[in-house]
Amino acid sequence: MNNKYHPALFWFAVLNAVATFLLIGLGGLVTSHEAGMSVPDWPTSYGYNMFALPIKFWTGGAFFEHTHRLLASVVGFLTTILAIWLWLKDSRKWMIWLGIAAFLGVIAQGILGGLRVKLQMDSLGIFHGAVAQTFLVLVCAIALFTSRWWQNSETEKQDSVPRGLRKHIFYVTILIFIQLLIAATMRHQHAGLAISDFPLAHGKIWPDASADAVVRYNAERVETYNVKPITAFQVELQMIHRLVAYTIFLGVAAAFFLARKKLGGRDALTKFAFFWLILLSLQIVLGAATIWKNKAADIATLHVMVGALALLTGALWWLVAARRTRLAV
């Protein structure tokens, strides 16, 4: 069914997507600064109404946690308006359901964040991070579906994208999501860097993760942040994270070369794949820098944000490719 393009709705959806992306960044800062538990109560903050917390308490880790809560409220408000707007203005039934899904998603995410504080459960932090990434893809997809290109694409000639290339992009995107789950698990162990050197790992290609070695690693660490002692599981998890990172990089590089071969260098999707490759290159550098700089909060957070962008790029690429292919038939 044709749907009328509403510029205001589209730009509002973009605003919501940008706010969500910034919220992920702010959430990254909360975890990077080990500040997630700095405000022990929720939905109040230090006993105050969250929106009335005096500025003098916005200090240290509480600054990141409290501003994260405030921005989350803004995103919740924007998403609610977006869902209502879609319901009122969009004639596509599935878009109304997407709006409802986004609304329920943002509510669930807020409650998850609150429960993570109230129940003091690190594992909920992992789930909170994973839902954040999924929610970003959802709100960006809504922005894409309300765009002029998407709505006018039916009346324009479209070139199909080979099934093999689409499948390749799909699997690499899924792998990126798995990588983000691994990363969230690493970050929410609150143990700092399990391996503090790169490209080697504790001086070896594959580190010793025996009990004696882990005792030695912990004895050698001089933590300036309130991180937990590292475990063998965390050492091995970081190695898996590295291996998956290399695999994703090769997968994205292959996606770019395949796109250039199948679609031509001037195709928008080839250019988008090139952007993806640039992102992945940057992400590898940021991952290395996170280790070299002993998990400096700003660098670690940039690593989180570029990771979110990498997932988003793959997802949007696949959606656009699927749309083009469907209309080209």
Binding site: S38, P40, T59, R216, N218, A219, R221, V222, T224, N226
Partner: protein
């Protein structure tokens, strides 16, 4: 009558035991060069905390060792002794937050013994316990706010206290199910007082260097047992 006699006998037994009890003393030493302590540089970004340090910033204190190699902050616990916790009646232990640091950073208490946490700073702290065996707590403490009281029901080594507002602030509390323990001082010395004569296992644990044990025999005039930790 029988009851009175029983109580009298028990009292006499206790007095006799106490009269015979000796102090278990020792010195903890460190061999080798520990990793260099790091400056707590994040403090400079927080005006509420940096005001306490007009000069050099404080450093981490993982290896508190003097020029002679005497090692502080080692928790020494007597094992194999049947002695119930007297924590409920023991004097509370005070832990202060001053200059956005915990004092002391390492301490030991009995199960049920009160830990009073003070806030001497002019800023808000959250006192967040991260135990493995006990229940976790996370409480806010305003500047000038009332003292907080913590007790722990189960024994646990190095239960962490941390402030997430100032994430360089942490302390560790070892909870022991009995009264026979000590923490080595700045001179590396420790004393466990009034140990009844007998053969026991003495366990010394440093948070970074691990645990050492020794078999000791305490006599009426006490006993001495030293430990030497090594940086590998």
């Amino acid at each position: 009558m029988k009851k009175s006699l029983l109580l009298l006998s028990l009292g006499l037994f206790a007095v006799t035991q106490f009269a015979q009890a000796g102090d278990l003393t020792g010195v903890i030493s460190l061999k080798g060069t520990p990793p260099a302590e790091k400056e707590l540089s994040p403090i400079k970004d927080d005006p509420n905390c940096s005001v306490s340090y007009p000069g050099a910033l404080p450093k981490t204190k993982f290896y508190v060792v003097d020029a002679s190699g005497d090692l502080a902050d080692v928790v020494v616990v007597l094992k194999g002794i049947s002695a119930p916790s007297t924590g409920a009646s023991a004097a509370p232990v005070v832990m202060d937050q001053k200059g956005c640091l915990y004092y002391p950073q390492i301490l030991a208490v009995q199960t049920g013994q009160k830990i009073i946490v003070k806030n001497s700073d002019n800023c808000v702290h959250n006192v967040h316990t991260v135990p493995k065996a006990n229940d976790s707590q996370n409480l806010v403490q305003m500047p000038g706010g009332a003292d907080l009281t913590f007790t722990f029901a189960k024994p646990e080594p190095f239960l962490k206290f941390q402030c997430d507002v100032h994430p360089w602030m942490f302390a560790w509390v070892t909870v022991v199910d009995g009264p026979y323990f000590a923490v080595s001082g700045a001179d590396g010395k420790f004393t466990i007082k009034n140990v009844p004569p007998g053969k026991y296992t003495l366990e010394a644990t440093h948070r970074k260097l691990g645990t050492q044990t020794a078999e000791v025999e305490v006599k009426a005039d006490g006993a001495a047992q030293n430990f030497t930790f090594e940086v590998k």
